[in-house]
Symmetry: C2
Subunit: 463 residues, 2 copies
């Protein structure tokens, strides 16, 4: 599958990087000077972050081809993402060139944050082919894409958006600025007043957001948070209580402050005082590491963006046993930033994590998976001996190869080797002893015969 990227600024390049890292071939057209270097910088950042969101290795990245015309970029593309500047006439011209050369069944999608599909479609040869897929920066990490356009086009687009790990939010009616930017707009307006009136600096405003409702909204949003505030009395009760506040005096400050040179300078100065000790590149790296860490934190909770990531992980799992050099592959993954310690390498406990996950793979393949646990049996580790051979760094891809000793009564012995995928360097080895447990008594017990025989077959698969 090929995606065409028309306009490769920070948004277009973010789309391109996400498509490529999820295995799509990508053809890029952007004639502006320095576009290729900027694209490559975004791709480098995305390569550091996106694969680390998952507990399984992503497919091989697709090929990226730099094209010198729209025609060359779009001719074989299934998905065409337009991210040129927010000028309606320019976008309409671009669609003319695209539609002159693209497949009839291609999706032509705009990253616009402001325009409605009906505006974009004016004068197009096949208007229904053009829709909006509005993403959020960094596109390679944040999963939201607001989809607006013809019902039939969106029906085809949504599964592709899911395939590249995003959440397709189908906006029911076209409306200026779609949904999320309306909120950003409202908050931005209020923030300008607060700075303008000297109530708070840019840093104080950021702290008011990130130490309070920001972290609440990162997982539940607005309405579910208020449902909680309403408590057992219910949402309708809450709205009745909170409703009058909408008429309180502060709702009168709804004009837009004049962006005088003084106000612009004041904000720029405050922002320098707040963040000027970091370069933009450093701030981007900080942001991406923060986002990866928080998104990963939501995965075990199976909530919000964490639940979305888990869906992609499910797709990345090999259902059948995979062998490498005649050994069972039980882990194949990238080492994420949150596994690093102050020595700037993977913390020793995370080697244990890899071997724990390796044991889980063996058990899953043998039928002792989460469903089996729910039915009343499991294996608990009782002994693990790890030998650390080499440092492992964040961003490295590793593979764990496992030998299964025959099951002896209640006991299962596993021997693991963790190797760097790029050069097979041995990073650590471990001997692990597991015992089968009856989950109702949480005492050791003999596993059922089908588990024992599945384990033997797994072992026999390796030679």
């Amino acid at each position: 599958m090929t995606a065409a990227i028309i306009g490769a600024g920070v948004i277009g390049a973010g789309w391109g990087a996400r498509f490529a890292l999820m295995g799509w071939d990508v053809s890029v057209f952007d004639p502006s000077p320095g576009a290729r270097e900027r694209f490559e910088a975004v791709y480098a950042s995305a390569s550091e972050s996106l694969p680390a969101l998952f507990e399984h290795a992503l497919p091989e990245p697709g090929e990226i081809t730099w094209c010198d015309s729209i025609e060359a970029a779009v001719q074989h593309a299934r998905w065409i993402q337009e991210s040129v500047p927010e000028q309606l006439a320019m976008k309409q011209e671009v669609y003319k060139s695209i539609q002159a050369h693209c497949r009839d069944d291609a999706i032509v999608s705009s990253s616009t944050s402001g325009f409605k599909p009906s505006e974009l479609q004016q004068g197009a040869s096949r208007p229904e082919q053009i829709m909006v897929a509005h993403p959020f920066n960094p596109v390679y990490l944040l999963p939201l894409a607001e989809l607006v356009g013809n019902e039939e086009t969106i029906k085809q687009a949504a599964p592709i958006i899911e395939e590249i790990g995003m959440y397709p939010l189908h906006v029911r009616q076209e409306i200026d600025a779609h949904i999320a930017d309306r909120f950003l707009e409202a908050v931005w307006r209020e923030a300008l007043w607060l700075v303008n009136d000297g109530v708070a600096t840019t840093e104080e405003i950021d702290n008011a957001i990130r130490y309070g409702f920001g972290i609440r909204w990162a997982q539940m949003g607005l309405f579910e948070t208020y449902r909680l505030a309403g408590g057992d009395a219910g949402m309708a009760h809450f709205i009745k209580q909170f409703g009058p506040a909408l008429k309180w005096p502060w709702t009168k400050l709804m004009d837009v402050p004049d962006l005088t040179p003084e106000l612009v300078q004041q904000i720029a100065d405050q922002s320098d005082a707040q963040s000027g000790h970091y370069s933009i590149r450093e701030l981007e790296r900080i942001r991406d590491d923060n986002l990866v860490s928080m998104l990963r934190a939501l995965k075990p909770r199976q909530y919000g963006a964490g639940a979305l990531l888990n869906k992609t992980d499910q797709r990345l799992i090999n259902e059948a046993a995979v062998y490498h050099d005649e050994q069972l592959v039980t882990v194949h993954r990238v080492i994420p930033i949150d596994w690093m310690d102050y020595n700037a390498h993977m913390n020793e406990s995370r080697y244990g994590q890899v071997f724990s996950d390796a044991a889980d793979t063996v058990l899953r393949l043998a039928g002792a998976d989460e469903t089996y646990v729910a039915s009343g049996g499991s294996f608990f580790t009782v002994d693990c001996h790890i030998q650390y051979r080499n440092e492992t760094l964040p961003g490295e891809t590793v593979r764990c190869l496992t030998r299964i000793a025959p099951l002896d009564g209640k006991k299962l012995k596993l021997s693991h080797e963790m190797r760097r995928a790029s050069d097979e360097t041995l990073l650590a080895s471990a001997d692990q002893l597991l015992v089968h447990v009856d989950m109702s008594t949480r005492k050791s017990s003999i596993p059922p015969p089908h588990i024992a025989s599945a384990l033997s077959q797994l072992q026999a698969g390796a030679s």
Copy 2:
């Protein structure tokens, strides 16, 4: 130190739980029926979550005393937190009773989200004693407290807010709704329009927030995020670009929609469809587990709320060696929710985390801390043998006791026992072999004599 809680609804109880869990005695006055049971439910939730934010055990919780008068509650209190309903006359009456009985140097602080200190202070005997400390639900987890009032009072209040692990945001001018609620108000107004106009459901709006800008704001807020969007061209350039959007059509939707019974019912129905399969108690538990996990994820990044938590952790570290039953205590902590696996107990790799942290404590006490690492030396673990004896559950407090073998050249051997603090049950033991490393070559090397002698002294301290 004693904190008095006047009004123990969800906000007052949240304050009370936070003060008590951070070691303050708490006296509570709330004559409304069922107040005590509601307080205890909030305290139970807080006990499950707040201690798990830290890598070190909190001090012993303070004593909670239920009082039958304002007089009894406030007489010895250093901090008095008023959280009665948002009715100005009622609050002013409460301050009269408080000030008739409290210490002159007590801080009398209101949780009000709407009123200004000048309004609260009207008719008070010592007006300057009354200020606003506006928190965010759940008060026991979210660190933001907006402080508004007289300069001198806030100067005394801020260190106390920091002591209980919160961030004192000094609001420079009193203003209706302080800072953060003005943003919530603006977003709420916009969200009501979107539901009213059928553009999006409550769930779609929540998804538009939590899959996009919500997770961005949780760590950087608004202005730092936009600084990034502006890129190297700078913040002033960004504002000039983004400024015109403020005049675009969607800024006209700034009225407040009428809260007709139909709109209220529509929102309540959509919220039921979105979240009605969970009880409020279940949603609270989900929220708290999510918040704990995300807040903890920001700690290694040393950013946003994670940096605040690390400051509290620093205060919780014992600078000198601590012994228990004549053994060196190297870890004393609560097991957090993010260490749990699908067997509903602590994952085996997190035992390794505890033993890794135990080794770090030994090294820190011996002078081989992060500063030493920065200067070019460190110890790497080369071998670890863990024996798992008993399950460990989230919320349990554990202690790790460590024996240090004499340093043999480059090698250091540590033997750890991890025990449940409540009953000394042995949960796991480990033998760990570390090697001293020259960080410039990342090869083994002989440690300097002062490290070796500090290790001997540590070992001699235990008998």
